[in-house]
Amino acid sequence: MERIPILRIGEFLLVTIQVDMHDQMALALQDDLTARIEKTGAKGVLLDISALDMVDSFIGRMIGNISAVSRILSASTVVVGMQPAVAITLVELGLELPGVLTALDAERGMALLRAKLAAEADDAGDAQ
């Protein structure tokens, strides 16, 4: 089965979904990403969905799961590049992705991840 590549950039993992995923592929991505966070100790995940022309409840659930699991493994996930038509449709479908961080594009998403990491470092410093 074709799998979605996961790239490592410093402390972050980058996933760009560029194919129309069938359900098993979405599940495999969820598993692969969880394993990579654990293996690399990555502090953040940038999930680029700008090439997706549709997010249905299954893919929406995958996005929510990735975000929740990464949070438990102390990594933040930012979903970037959602097309406006996809966002409108998701809300009407009834899926508002609570708790999922988003940014308009990859650059802003990366800035958000860096800011979160810096804030966490500050908090850790204050505690000492």
Binding site: Q24, D53, M54, V86, I88, G94, L95
Partner: protein
């Protein structure tokens, strides 16, 4: 109402669900649907095609292009399976209720995304869901 196009997509595998999305997208583009309208119809078709596969044990999707006398056009999609059917329709049409492991948004969500929605189900015989989206 005149039907100006008619075709069928089998729904026997997850790849068929992806194909269904793609053929619906192509048809909606050809009919001049806006991007948001296309996305709503494609998303609804994905939900219903998955239902046909997972809950109905497979089936097919029929696609038709409708044209009204006033020049309005629409796309009608019909998802048909010969699966176990839906025992409790009221429950099935409740947001967040799922007989499987999903989010329970497939039926209710696609109803919201369509202009018209109709569901017929006979326990032991199968289910037929029809949606229309007008341009």
């Amino acid at each position: 109402m005149p039907v100006t196009h008619s075709s069928r997509q089998e729904l026997r595998s997850e790849q068929d669900v992806v194909r269904a999305r793609q053929v619906v997208r192509k048809l909606a583009q050809e009919q001049g649907f806006s991007l948001v309208e296309q996305t709503k119809l494609v998303t609804a078709s994905s939900e219903l095609a998955r239902n046909t596969l997972i809950h109905g044990g497979g089936g097919h999707m029929d696609m038709e292009v409708l044209s009204k006398a006033d020049g309005h056009s629409g796309i009608r999609l019909r998802f048909v399976d010969q699966g176990p059917g839906i025992a409790d329709m009221r429950l099935a049409m409740t947001d967040g209720w799922s007989s499987g492991t999903g989010l329970g948004l497939g039926l209710t969500g696609s109803k919201r995304l369509a202009s018209e929605f109709e569901i017929q189900s006979t326990p032991g015989k199968g289910t037929c869901v029809t949606i229309v989206r007008w341009k």
